[in-house]
Amino acid sequence: MHSICSQATAVPRSNFAFDSHAPALPISKPINLRFCGLRKEAFGFSGLTHSCSSRVRFTSRGHSKRISASAENNGTPPKSFDYDLIIIGAGVGGHGAALHAVEKGLKTAIIEGDVVGGTCVNRGCVPSKALLAVSGKMRELQSEHHMKALGLQVSAAGYDRQGVADHANNLASKIRSNLTNSMKALGVDILTGFGTVVGPQKVKYGKVGFPDNIVTAKDIIIATGSVPFVPKGIEVDGKTVITSDHALKLESVPDWIAIVGSGYIGLEFSDVYTALGSEVTFIEALDQLMPGFDPEIGKLAQRVLINPRKIDYHTGVFATKITPAKDGKPVTIELIDAKTKEPKDTLEVDAALIATGRAPFTNGLGLENINVETQRGFVPVDERMQVIDANGNLVPHLYCIGDANGKMMLAHAASAQGISVVEQVTGRDHVLNHLSIPAACFTHPEISMVGLTEPQAREKAEKEGFEVSVAKTSFKANTKALAENEGEGLAKLIYRPDNGEILGVHIFGLHAADLIHEASNAIALGTRIQDIKFAVHAHPTLSEVLDELFKSAKVKATASSHVPVSEPVAV
């Protein structure tokens, strides 16, 4: 809002300076500086009215003591501590927290026992995006129909496995060094070794075989992340039975690979492997593929991402035993019925990828020293990420963010949680609204979502007694999508018709992962449909899919708008 104001100040008479809330309104007389000030007030007010209810609290009820303390300490650490903040784990969550802490003037250290960047950068989102970029291009080049429709002629598309693997590896190293450099440049101390909590506000770290160092900090954040979860009975040899850690190195492209689990990870790898020529068999314990996605989106995704590809699947089954290929025998997978537990089938494949989720990496953290018990490995935390001990009491000055607390196992969620913690320890209470955190699956086309699925929303509506409506738009009506010959796709909005609140948005289609943020920002800021529908989108762009979506929603006329219609805004 400050930038809006200063923009108007600098170019007071320009018709091009605008406020995102203003353009739909009639323009009257030239703007003046005072008016700009008014707008600022109005914005601040509206932000308060519809966000303060549950998400962002500006009041400091119950936390006033700590806030005043940390306000005094801000910038000048007390002599009794080595650091203001120590973060254990330099993944994306730790990195986000560290950067924000420095911005807030905290003396910060980060402890990393492995490589900077954690799972996301080294064995997760980052290298997988490199592989998926290749798979997207291969898919396009191999689709004779698609190419013909564009008038392009391409002879047999091929790939060099090592080249693809190198691309993924190079990307990971580059992002890793960017991350390291950004922290070093800001003066974050990177302490190498395995971090362990030895007592309140006290951490030891060190490499194996070297004496431990003990450091103290006013606040500690645990951000140790997770590792691939491998169910019992599955023998991972790293060659023919692998996890995402191995798969991302792309040491081989098997002819036929079974993927155990059809969530994000499994789905993305099926996209990569089928584009590179493998055939895929999904093994899913639940009764349908892609659990966790909005059912309607899941159904469409299955029609586009599974059925026409060289993929088959077994649902409602557990893989109880997976044996790697050896002695001239293929990989064997024993399946039992998920409900009756009776043996169902035995598969013989060339490789198996275990994508059954991730387990928190919290062993050896020394949580017992401060009376904290993990739950299935996860560190229990409250809504402010503060660690809860075995007696249900908050542990002072100890926080846990990211996969290790299991609230929402996404890199950007970890980072957001880290920033939220830093906000709190520097005197501003903050509760992260997890329903505003978007998620994306980078298949071709992509899937993205934020907020509730339709069944979740209907359940909530039933309980709380409000009405739910659904609006949908198709990518087939979007000019840009049609220009790209990628009209397959759907955007779905779940909302309250009585007040225009956005409950959830789900997108399946070209660049869905990039499109979701308009919706997630609206949820985070509490923007209502009746307001956002007046926002202008460049034509022709994919963002018009969301524009259409908001415009097609039917919000009751009685719902109040937060734009003061009675006061015309001029620019």
Partner: protein, 517 residues
């Protein structure tokens, strides 16, 4: 198949074709240009001096081959250039020779079994010391995947090579527990089977561990693998020794067809599979047919004259067709991509020949340039080779125009299916006495085969009784006539083109003097 070429330096392929009998047939270029989906990613690691004998690609359409017989037995000493095994491709039986001196240590794929192109069918050891190791390798290759494969017979003690001194029976791989094997089909194979209504139980898998691959289903459904179905080409594969992967290369099928009550399932031979594929593929070409009656009195007279010199009617017709094609190059052209004409520089007449259990089209190359006697000589050789299944690929797949003659069986008319890759095919029926109007406008009875389209028209014009009368009265002016029916690809050859070509052909046959020039 491609793997040995890709990983050049240290590993060279040890299988090849007998260069003496098959001269310029299989330059290495033709090998490396052929890639089949299941094979390229595999690298067979060849340690020390143990080499694998691969199933060679004997033609561009060959995806698998059947072992007709092993010329050599295990333990035999081989010298470079000797025939080792006879392989039945989709078109012919071929001798496969070795490029290396050594000892045939193990036979991986036994007689009567099939293996995909590029799969190891035998193991060659350089010295006796390596035989045991080679056998172990063979055992690990075939152990899990070929329950029906007979265990390799022990090396003959007699003969040029003594049994290896310390040959511990390393190939004693347990194959007893393989009794109940279920059908394993890959996801895409299952999808294709559903799409083409193929029962996977009736398909013999040729993939790793005997699994049914998409290619197997396509073969069973009689379709050529479409290009889009073929996975991406792996350009370079740099992979260090990966033993687990290498073993998956063994691909001898489990050849146990399930019993079907009340019927006998006889799988296609490779040749029948090839015919089936070609026939289904021909459906995608828009064809049409034009018939033409050709008076053969003069040709018959010429035939009587040249017959003692070994000239056959087939050679005469081929020569006549070739000479007509010279004047109508479009009929000798083909349409390869649906967008352009491919004019062939040579006129190669393929002629359909029925052989035991199959059909093949030996090709008279440059039929327009060779003289009638040479052509007849050549034809005789080709037929002999075809019957012995010894045709080389370019002797059956280089045709630019096909001739099919069923006249000798008394067939009066038929139409032929256009073989893929050619522009036209000519179907020739038997000669027949026919009434024709002569140059003076009189009806006369001539030996002529009439085509179905023309027959009603003729009857409409002439009184049937008078035909019978004429046949009695003017029997002295009866002429021998054949009906030819040409099927052509209408994308490039139009009705008028074909009519003009047939007119020229008819003139040549009716004035056959030029044929002997």
């Amino acid at each position: 198949m491609a793997s040995p070429f890709l990983s050049n330096s240290t590993i060279s392929f040890s299988s090849s074709l007998k260069s003496s009998t098959l001269p310029r047939l299989f330059p290495s270029v033709s090998f490396s240009s052929i890639r089949f989906k299941p094979t390229p990613r595999r690298i067979l690691t060849v340690r020390s001096k143990i080499r694998e004998i691969f199933m060679p690609a004997l033609s561009s359409t060959m995806t698998e081959g059947k072992i007709v017989s092993w010329v050599k037995s295990e333990g035999d000493v081989l010298s470079k250039g000797e025939s080792v095994v006879v392989v039945e491709s989709d078109k012919a039986d071929m001798d496969v020779e070795t490029f290396y001196d050594g000892i045939l240590a193990a036979i991986v794929v036994g007689e009567g079994e099939t293996a995909p192109v590029g799969a190891a069918i035998g193991i060659l050891a350089e010295t006796e010391d390596e035989i045991a190791e080679a056998k172990a390798k063979a055992a690990s290759n075939s152990g899990a995947s070929a329950p029906s494969a007979p265990p390799p017979p022990p090396a003959p003690a007699a003969g040029s090579t003594p049994a290896p001194p310390n040959s511990t029976p390393a190939y004693a791989a347990p194959i007893a527990s393989e009794g109940l094997r279920k059908t394993v089909a890959t996801p895409y194979a299952k999808k294709l089977a559903k799409q083409h209504k193929v029962d996977t139980e009736s398909v013999v898998g040729t993939g790793p561990y005997g699994r049914i691959t998409p290619e197997d289903i396509e073969a069973a459904a009689g379709i050529l693998p479409s290009k889009t179905n073929v996975g991406p080409v792996v350009v370079v594969e740099v992979k260090p020794a990966a033993p687990t992967k290498a073993t998956s290369d063994s691909s001898a099928p489990s050849s146990i067809p399930p019993p079907v009550p009340g019927s006998t399932v006889v799988p296609f031979t490779t040749m029948q599979t090839a015919v089936s594929k070609n026939m289904v593929e021909s459906i995608s070409v828009p064809t049409f047919r034009v018939g033409y009656p050709v008076t053969t009195d003069a040709l018959d007279a010429l035939y009587e004259k040249v017959k003692p010199k070994g000239v056959t009617m087939t050679a005469l017709l081929a020569k006549a067709a070739a000479m007509a094609l010279v004047q109508h190059p479009v009929v000798n052209a083909s349409c390869k991509d649906g967008k352009s004409f491919s004019y062939n520089s040579n006129i190669n007449i393929a002629i359909a020949v029925a052989i035991n259990g199959g059909l093949i089209t030996p090709v008279l190359q440059d039929a327009d340039k060779l003289d009638l006697y040479l052509l007849s000589q050549k034809w005789k050789e080709l037929v002999e080779k075809a019957r012995a299944k010894q045709l080389q690929p370019q002797e059956y797949n280089s045709g630019t125009f096909t001739l099919s003659n069923l006249g000798m069986f008394g067939v009066d008319k038929f139409d032929a299916i256009l073989p893929p890759g050619q522009g036209a095919i000519m179907a020739v029926g038997a000669s027949k006495p026919t009434v024709v109007a002569d140059a003076d406008g009189f009806f006369s009875l001539k030996n002529k085969m009439l085509l179905p389209v023309l027959l009603p028209a003729m009857i409409g014009v002439i009184d049937f009784a008078s035909v019978l009368l004429a046949s009695k009265m003017y029997s002295s002016v009866m002429s021998s006539t054949i009906g030819v029916n040409v099927t052509a690809d209408h994308r490039i050859i139009y009705g008028a083109d074909l009519a003009a070509f047939l007119q020229t052909f008819s003139k040549i046959v009716e004035n056959p003097g030029s044929l002997t020039l």
